[in-house]
């Protein structure tokens, strides 16, 4: 049953877990959660297998057909994000279980966590724009709850700010949905991509949807709610928010942009997104450099990294299939590696704060001496964020750079590289503090081994992604969501072949070494 129907399982398990967690006692709550995490992992894996065997799957929930029913769709991109969620949220759940002391806080955490996961899966698998709205809204509410549940004053302010921004974004998105439905009479993404009519209503609709989504993704200059929310939340929450939640709205934006073929028809709009991204890179990097609180540094780093992801949009060009493919690959890889690295970094930062007992950067002096493992976890994640090899971040940057060159948009190259340097500056600023001579001996607390391992696992995964990037990128071709029709002859086929078959050089090289 489980292997046959992973899609409903992916939706139902988290919702069920959320409800059950609200009802049960402390101990059983953890058990249920672990069981649910396990089911989620297995379900996403079986979905992957199914996808590899059968290709993209469409699944009407409860056998109700669209438009009134909810249709779910699992193509390569969706499955990739499902898997990413399972890995990151699974590890974050483990971390949370170890991190949160038993008590009311933990009681609040698990239901919200499961609602969030349900919303995420809903968004990844949604096939129509209204379900995306529902998912978004559920996600926002769960996320706001997660930010607020620690109960401190700062967290509360951050949560209210976050909520207000999220509501504004949701409404803008909903407005767009209304206008699009009014103009086209359909909500399904695939129908819309075929029936898209030009007009004022469609333009406003798309603009409102895009901006609403960007507001939820905290793209500069709509980012100000993010640092307090992500920096002020409890560590596992920060990790989840930065790694997964903001990716949901970006995912929707990407879907809209590609499936409604805006990247082909309105390159100027793409340029706007790109420039906002460029500014975000600079702004976020600079602000990260100026923070005195460790988690704020990491939070502003998210602002900058979103900018990187946005650079994918102007690089998706109708007139250059090669550049578009590279851009899509680079952008998606950037999302993946950022998810892993940022989650790892937040967890490592949380560990460091546990060590020192203080949230300031200046408290880190001596940590590299006495708690090298925590710093190491932070550093590994930092490597990926800086875009230094070998890491997923580097591979993504490589692809984006290649794409920028291929589409002759050279101006993104300095943006990416300077952004990389800025991120190096703020990551190494943390090291700088940690390497400072400590006056006293080992006075640090010792975070549990489990916590360290969680952080390290995520950070290491972001590095590992640099070596196995072909594998997630292969999923992007199931099906290839950039329509083949607009490609010049052969170029994509070639790159597809590159994905799967050994190149001539590979064969040549191996044969050559036998003298």
């Amino acid at each position: 049953m489980m292997l046959n129907a992973p899609i409903p399982l992916l939706m139902i398990t988290p919702l069920a877990a959320a409800v059950i967690c609200m009802l049960l006692s402390e101990r059983s709550r953890l058990l249920v959660s672990f069981a649910a995490v396990l089911i989620q992992l297995l379900a996403s894996l079986s979905l992957l297998l199914l996808l590899l065997q059968q290709g993209p799957i469409t699944h009407p929930l409860g056998s109700w057909e669209a438009p009134l029913g909810i249709a779910l769709r699992a193509d390569g991109l969706a499955v990739l994000f499902v898997l990413m969620t399972s890995v990151v949220a699974g590890i974050a759940a483990l971390y949370a279980a170890l991190y949160l002391t038993p008590g009311p806080l933990r009681a609040h955490f698990w239901p919200l966590f499961w609602f969030m996961w349900a919303a995420l899966n809903g968004i990844w698998l949604a096939a129509d724009i209204f379900n995306l709205y529902v998912g978004l809204e559920l996600l926002s509410l769960a996320a706001v709850g997660l930010v607020a549940f620690s109960g401190s004053k700062e967290a509360l302010v951050a949560a209210i700010r976050y909520l207000l921004a999220a509501l504004l974004g949701s409404l803008a998105y909903l407005l767009g949905v209304a206008l699009l439905y009014g103009a086209h009479g359909t909500l399904s993404l695939s129908d819309l991509s075929q029936q898209m009519q030009p007009g004022v209503a469609s333009s406003i609709a798309l603009a409102a949807m895009a901006m609403g989504l960007l507001l939820k993704s905290a793209l500069f200059p709509l980012h100000t709610w993010l640092p307090p929310a992500h920096g002020g939340a409890m560590t596992p929450v920060s990790a989840l928010l930065s790694a997964l939640v903001i990716k949901a709205s970006l995912y929707i934006l990407l879907r809209l942009w590609i499936e409604l073929r805006i990247h082909e028809l309105a390159p100027d709009a793409s340029q706007l997104l790109g420039w906002m991204g460029a500014l975000a890179i600079a702004w976020g990097g600079w602000m990260a450099l100026r923070q005195t609180l460790l988690k704020r540094v990491v939070a502003y780093s998210t602002v900058a990294q979103i900018g990187y992801i946005m650079l994918m949009f102007p690089l998706l060009r109708a007139d250059n299939a090669e550049a578009s493919t590279l851009a899509l690959q680079g952008g998606v890889l950037m999302v993946l590696s950022h998810a892993l690295a940022k989650a790892g970094m937040f967890l490592a930062a949380g560990n460091l704060i546990l060590c020192t007992g203080r949230p300031e950067l200046s408290a880190l002096a001596g940590t590299s001496q006495y708690r090298p493992l925590s710093i190491f976890g932070f550093g590994l994640a930092g490597v990926s964020l800086m875009g230094l090899p070998p890491s997923g971040g580097f591979s993504a940057k490589w692809l984006l750079l290649q794409s920028a060159l291929a589409s002759a948009q050279w101006w993104w190259i300095p943006v990416m590289l300077l952004g990389g340097l800025l991120s190096a500056a703020y990551v190494f600023r943390v090291f700088h503090y940690s390497f400072k001579e400590a006056e006293n001996s080992d006075t640090f607390h010792r975070p549990g081994v489990g916590l360290e391992i969680c952080a390290l696992a995520l950070s290491a995964a972001s590095i590992l992604l640099g070596f196995i990037a072909t594998w997630p990128l292969h999923l992007l071709t199931l099906p290839d969501i950039l329509p083949l029709a607009v490609l010049p002859e052969g170029s994509l086929e070639q790159s597809l072949e590159l994905l799967q078959t050994p190149t001539y050089e590979t064969l040549h090289g191996t044969s050559e070494q036998q003298p």
Binding site: L164, A165, L168, A172, P198, G199, V200, S202, S203, I204, L206, A207, A208, A210, M211, L214, L215, P221, L222, H223, T224, W225, I262, L265, A266, P267, D268, A269, L272, M276, W283, W286, M287, R290
Partner: protein, 572 residues
């Protein structure tokens, strides 16, 4: 048998190994005189030896032929004699042990370069000799010694650099690609397009050792301050390394280069005369000897120049040069050692002492044994129609200069002797006396038992020829007598030109400090820039963005902008 060549430079090095063991150090010091024995034995054995060592450096090639044997022979003799001398002279010196170490190193270099037939070994031993010799020069660590050492080192490094440049330039156009043999280099230099540059570099580079004018300043500074045995080998043996370099590497005898020849002759004669003129103004016997060395090397330089004008004479000239080198080395060595003898109570009758001191001086002016042989042979070789007519008279005339220098030397020594009464002086160590007499003997007789290579050139004992050697000495005596009565010595300091040059160089640090000031800022840390304008602006804007719910406004504006963009490009 060929491998016995290895012994020549390695014996001193082996002694150094022994020296390095603290318990054996004393023994090693006592054994220094033995370091030359293998070299001497091999040199006198008369066999032609050739050893190829492809694994050594870039592929080494060591050779002992007739000419080299002469050089090896007198070098070993002189070093051996001086080493015995040093046993007595250095006894009780605080730095006696380090003296022996440096002695052995220098010796190894000096012996090694004589048997090197490839450029790399040659350069290696040459450098070894030069740099270890520095330690000998500054042995006393006195102010003068350090200054002399400084000048010596700077000039030596310059010389090394010039030699390296010359060698590299020659290597570019070898006729046998990849060869490292000295003779191939010399052959290449005969035709190379870089020829002027190569000849300049090599001539000047080795000229530093040989004391060419303007490159000579270290000589009168270094020779007097070094301990006497070291001065003797510096002036006698090591100075000849420069000559060897010329013989091995310059294309003399292969091509006719009259312009070069004339220039070299002029330079040589300039050295011969000017050194004498400056030398007679000096007040230290060792300084006078040093200038005499410059003067004598000037004669050899002139002969070299002649071979550039008339290549035909080269084959005959080389043995003569070797003979002359041998003569000068041993004689000058003896003269230097004599200076030390006069500082002790030798308990010899004054007449014996004076004779023993005067004999080598007479030899140097050309009146006796090796001196007359060498000078006569040289002149005989330069009887050539193609050579400029003024060459021979000039060389003959140079004997006047030499005599003046020798007279000055003897006079200074006699002043020395008479100034101190015998009982002020400590007794002369036996080893010093022995070695002095041995060297003297060698200098007088070597010409008769030296390797046969140079034998055929001996001119017959022609009285007229001898007369031609006598009159310049007489003229010198006359001049000296006149000068003694009417001439006050000019206040020319040892090293003559070095003083103005040093004054000039002292300006250089000023340039340097200016340069330093100009570049110091370039890579020194930039001051921390905090709270720059841009930074403040960004922080201000960030606060503005966050406060007062402006986010909704930006949001609306951006939505509007995006709609317009979409409208503009998408749907219109």
């Amino acid at each position: 048998m060929n491998h016995s060549l290895l012994l020549i430079p390695l014996t001193p090095l082996l002694l150094i190994l022994i020296w390095c063991l603290p318990r054996w150090r004393e023994t090693a010091c006592r054994l220094t005189p033995l370091a030359v024995l293998p070299a001497l034995a091999i040199a006198l054995s008369g066999a032609e030896l050739h050893l190829e060592l492809p694994w050594l450096l870039l592929g080494s090639d060591w050779l002992l032929n007739d000419i080299r044997r002469v050089f090896l022979c007198f070098t070993a003799l002189l070093w051996g004699g001086c080493a015995i001398y040093a046993q007595g002279y250095m006894a009780g010196d605080v730095r006696e042990k380090s003296f022996h170490l440096l002695w052995l190193l220098t010796l190894s270099g000096n012996l090694g370069l004589i048997i090197s037939a490839d450029v790399v070994s040659f350069y290696l031993f040459f450098a070894l000799m030069t740099f270890a010799g520095y330690g000998l020069v500054i042995h006393t660590r006195s102010e003068e010694a350090l200054r002399a050492g400084r000048v010596y080192l700077i000039m030596a490094v310059l010389g090394e650099a010039l030699i390296l440049a010359g060698l590299l330039l020659s290597a570019a156009q070898l006729l046998v690609p990849g060869s490292l043999l000295l003779e191939d280099f010399a052959r290449a230099n005969a035709t190379s397009t870089y020829q002027p540059l190569i000849i300049s570099c090599l001539f000047a580079g080795f000229g530093v050792k040989a004391g060419l004018p303007l490159l000579h300043m270290w000589l009168p500074l270094a020779h007097p301050v070094a301990p006497i045995p070291a001065s003797a080998v510096l002036s006698g043996a090591m100075i000849k390394a420069g000559l060897l370099g010329w013989i091995f590497l310059l294309p003399a005898g292969m091509v006719s280069l009259p312009h070069w020849g004339i220039s070299i002759c002029v330079i040589g004669l300039l050295a011969a005369f000017a050194a004498a003129l400056i030398g007679v103004q000096q007040h230290k016997s060792k300084t006078v000897l040093a200038y005499s060395s410059i003067s004598q090397m000037g004669l050899l330089t002139t002969a070299l120049g002649a071979a550039f004008i008339q290549p035909e004479i080269w084959t005959g000239l080389v043995p003569v040069l070797a003979l002359f080198a041998m003569h000068h080395a041993l004689t000058k060595g003896t003269l230097f050692l004599a200076v030390g003898i006069t500082q002790y109570d030798s308990r010899l009758p004054l007449l014996v002492l004076a004779t023993a001191i005067c004999v080598p001086a007479l030899s140097l002016v050309g009146l006796l044994s090796s001196g007359s042989h060498a000078k006569l042979s040289l002149k005989a070789m330069l009887y050539d129609d193609l050579l400029p007519g003024w060459l021979l008279p000039a060389i003959t005339l140079s004997a006047v200069a030499t005599s003046l220098l020798m007279l000055r030397y003897l006079w200074l020594l006699s002043q020395n002797l008479s100034a101190k009464s015998t009982h002020d002086l400590s007794p002369l160590p036996q080893s010093m006396l022995l070695s002095w007499l041995l060297t003297l003997l060698a200098s007088l007789t070597a010409v008769y038992w030296m390797p046969q290579a140079i034998a055929p050139v001996y001119p017959s004992a022609d009285p007229t020829a001898w007369l031609s050697m006598l009159w310049p000495v007489m003229a010198g005596l006359l001049l000296a007598e006149i000068a003694r009565r009417h001439w006050r010595t000019l206040p020319i300091p040892p090293g003559d030109l070095i003083q103005p040059i040093e004054a000039l160089l002292r300006q250089v640090p000023i340039f340097f400090s200016k340069f330093q000031r100009a570049t110091a800022g370039l890579h020194e840390p930039v001051k921390e820039q905090r709270a720059g304008f841009a930074d403040q602006l960004i922080i201000y804007l960030e606060n503005q963005l966050e406060n007062r719910s402006l986010i909704a406004t930006y949001f609306s504006l951006l939505t509007l902008l995006l709609s317009l963009l979409l409208l503009g490009t998408y749907f219109v």
